[in-house]
Each structure stands twice: as C-alpha cells, then as structure tokens.
Amino acid sequence: MLLPVEWIPKNPTLDAYRKLFTIRNFGTSILNSFYVSIFCTILRLLCASMAAFALTKIKFRGSGMVFALYLTALMIPAQVTFIPLFIVMGKLNLLNSLNAFLFLQFFNAFAIFMLRQKMLTINDAYLEAARIDGAGMWRIFFQIILPLCPGTLATLAILSFMDLWNDYLLPLVLLTDRANYTLPLILNSMQGQFSNQYNLMMAGSLISIIPILIVYICAQKYFKEGLTVGGVKG
C-alpha cells in the first residue's frame, strides 16, 4: 500500500514545468495576478497616503472622528462582507473583472493607520516653509510628505503585493470566467484535473511562490516590520 519515499529523485526532470504552461489559461493567470497585485498596490498606497496626509497635516473639524470610524473598519472581517460585495460589484458591472479589485483599494484601514503613525512624526515646519514658498497642498503632499515616508511605503507596498498575490477568497467570489482567474484560482482548479499528478501541482505551487520569494530575499526587513506592527492585518 505505502510507497517508499525517494528522497533524492533518480531522474530529475523539468517536464512538469513545460507541461504547466500547456494548461489552459495558466500563463494568462500569471499575468492577471501581476496586473492585480501591482496596480492595486499602487492605488492602495496612493489613496491611503492621501487619507493619512489629510488626517495628520490638515486641521479640520471631525478629523478625529473620521480616523476613529476608519479604525473600526479593522474589526470587520473581510469574510463577513463578501456577499454584499458580490452584489455591489454586480451593480457596478464589475463582476468577473480584474478591475473590481482596484475599487477595493480606495480604503484600506491598516495602510491608513500605518501611514498616519509615520506622518505624525514629520515636523510641520517643513510644511510651513513650503507654504511660504507658495506651494499648494498637492505639491506639499507629493514633493515633501511622500518622500519623507520611504520605509513605511516600502513595507506597505511589499505587504500589499503579497496579500494580493496570495489572495484566494475574494478572487474566488468575484471572478467566474477562467480567462480572468488569478494564479491561486488556476492552481486550485488544477486539483480536479490532475488530482494525482503531484509533480504538476508542486511545480505550480513553486512558480506561485517565486515572485514573493525573490522580494522576500531582497527585502526581508520590510516584510517583518509590517507584520509585527500592531499585529493586525489589513
């Protein structure tokens, strides 16, 4: 019944990798995953830093309340909202579209929280000086504030990319057409077709890990920084 394990394969081969790319939509799914992960990360960071800027560097009534409300969103588990999210995306005609994920980046409580913490440490004297020189708020935001938060932005960019690249639940709910599948969905769909071809499944899994692994090896400290801050995930 039980087969002995061959710890060192007798005939190593890269055949499984070649075979992977003959699976329908496998190549496309990699591109889809890159599209979603890259553009969503950029948008998430932009929107979150705009919000953090408004909450730390612009005085207005209700600023504290807005932040408190935003923080309560951290309590809402994503899994609770996916039925109405499915409906909202349907109304917006975004079901089965990769762009649906872009809309979900407008608000990210965790990113806003982290960037706000960072921006609170930036001295307002910088702003005063720029203002006297006649710089508008957008210029102050892009040319003074953003360049002062590289560490936080890098940490968030890496964490967002990883979350989006690895995400399974939301793509599962929002994407129905195989041509739009992201890599995790295609990998999971292979289970039925190739249930006992473990070499193929392992090759696919490995390919899915590689991009994150490269980023991880190059920028370990950013990975770990973000995950220990507050211990909450976005």
Binding site: V5, L85, F106, F141, N166, P184
Partner: protein
C-alpha cells in the same frame, strides 16, 4: 505673497474622497446590507432592490429573524462551533509551543541559525493555495512523506484528510506550519525586550537554563503570549482557504465545516443569501466580542510594560 489655505474641511476633502467613498461603499454599506439580507429569504437570483424599491423588496422577501431561528435550532451551527473549538484546542497550544521554539532559535547565537532566519518565514509568505496543495501531498496516505516517515519508525499513519477523526488535526498541522513564523517573530520581539541582566543574575545564583526559562522568560513573556493568544483566537474563527482546498464540502462527515466555509457554501453554492448573511453576522458578532476583549487586555499590558 500668495498663501494657500492649510486647514478646513474643504482643503482636506480632495485628499479624503477616495478613502471616504471606499469606506462607505465597501465597508459600511456591506455590513448593513448583510444585516438586512439576513432578515430575508432572498435567493441571490431575483433582483435586489435595496436602494431602488426597498419597501417592495422587503415586502416580498422579509422573514424577520427566521434565518437566525433556523440556524440556532438546527444542528449545523453547533457542529461548526464544535469543529472550530476542536481547531482552537489543538492549534493554539501547539502553535504556541512551536513558535516559542522558533523564537528561541532565532534569539540564540548558535551556528546554522543564519539559514533558519531566512527559511522559517517562507510558509508565512506562501499562499494558502500553494501551502494546502503541498500539505495535501505530504498528508496523502499512500504517497505522502508524513506516513512514510511514520512507517519507518513503525507507526501506521492515519488516513488524515479522508478520516473524519484526523481531518481537523491535519488542518491544524498545516496551519501551525503556516503561522509559526508569524507568531514566532512576534514572540521574538517579546524575548528581545527582556533585560539580559536577569539571566546573568540568575546564572550567578546557579539557576540552570530550564529554570531560567520557566522563572524568567515565560513570566516576562506573558504580555506577548496573551496578545498572540487573542490574535490567533480571532484568526481561528476565520480559517477558510486551507479548509476548502484540503477538505472540500465540509470534509468527511462534516468534520471540517467552519464559519466562513458555511457562508461561502450557502451564498455561492446553495444561493441562500439570507442564511449566508445570518451566518456572516453571527461571525461578525463573535469577532467583535473577541476584539473588544483584546482591546481591554491590551490597555492592561501597556501598564504592565511601564
């Protein structure tokens, strides 16, 4: 000289618009909509007109608390909670011990730690889909490494994912593998916060390594351990990818049915949006209660640290 205004809501608004819209449309609206849908028998297929013709929609589908009554009087919720409890009871102690080991290894200056420092974190950055597929292979009763290893020391391994008894423990094993780096890192920061002088003093007094661990490390680490405990408890109620990928359809004899899996199943397989939404709100309330407990305790820990 021209001065730009730097205060007031009108100045802030352009910067806040994306996050406000996102917050309202994708956080507030869904949670309210879930509550409303949970009071209906809506099947997800007929038109949903909560905005346009709210009254008409509610008149047609409103059934009050019937979904909740059905859930609480049926056996499924209790099975789900029992399965979650099984997960919690196995996962949390095992995860704590393993991540404490991870943290201790990272904290030591022994040889070979350099490689470990890089490797231990790889499960955390791996997607659950890849992780689950790897574990399905590891746990395969015939071809898997785990049973082969058990066989080599004379133990006949169980059927793991195909057995109603062992499916949940198998998911626990995979989850510990996935999370040990994350929690290990958290515990490491706790370990590094402990003053080294305590150990030096203890060593001079003749306390051995084991005694040092139980008398110094563990007590001083309790704030971090509590934190890890609550976070992992909250996460335990939300497990999903590993469960549906490793054991589709609730596992053998429903032994791995869990909250999110039920929400997904009712919503997108049975098209019973009302039931799915009711399950969502039950989950939401559980998470909220746990989060409040966490916040209450967190305030205490801050004082503890001072």
């Amino acid at each position: 000289m021209k001065h730009t205004r730097t205060s007031g809501f009108r100045v802030a608004l352009p910067f806040l618009i994306p996050s406000l819209v996102g917050f309202l449309v994708f956080s507030v609206l869904p949670i309210i909509a879930t509550l409303l849908i949970s009071l209906t028998s809506w099947d997800g297929l007929s038109q949903l007109t909560l905005a346009g013709d709210f009254q008409g929609f509610m008149q047609q589908h409103f059934i009050g608390f019937q979904n909740y009554i059905d859930i609480f009087s049926g056996s499924e919720l209790y099975q789900v909670l029992l399965n979650t409890l099984k997960f919690v009871v196995l996962y949390i102690p095992l995860m704590l011990v393993v991540s404490l080991c991870v943290a201790s290894i990272l904290n030591s200056k022994a040889r070979g730690v350099g490689v470990f420092r890089v490797v231990y974190y790889i499960p955390v950055i791996t997607s659950w889909v890849a992780g689950s597929l790897i574990w399905k292979w590891v746990l395969n009763p015939q071809y898997g490494i785990l049973n082969s290893m058990l066989a080599s020391i004379g133990i006949q391994g169980p059927q793991w994912l195909q057995s109603s008894q062992w499916a949940m423990p198998a998911i626990v094993l995979a989850s510990v593998w996935k999370d040990m780096g994350y929690f290990g890192l958290m515990l490491l920061s706790g370990l590094q916060g402990i003053n080294r002088e305590y150990y030096e003093a203890a060593a001079i007094d003749g306390a051995g390594k084991i005694k040092q661990f139980f008398r110094i490390t563990l007590p001083l680490l309790t704030p971090t351990i509590f934190f890890v405990l609550i976070i992992s408890l909250i996460n335990s109620f939300q497990i999903f990818p590993q469960v549906v990928i490793m054991t589709p359809d609730g596992g053998p004899a429903g032994s791995t049915m869990v909250m999110v899996e039920r929400i997904y199943k009712y919503g997108f397989k049975y098209y019973e949006m009302g039931t799915a939404s009711a399950f969502s709100w039950i989950l939401f309330l559980i998470i909220m209660i746990l989060t409040f407990v966490q916040m209450k305790l967190q305030n205490k820990w801050v004082n503890y640290d001072d």
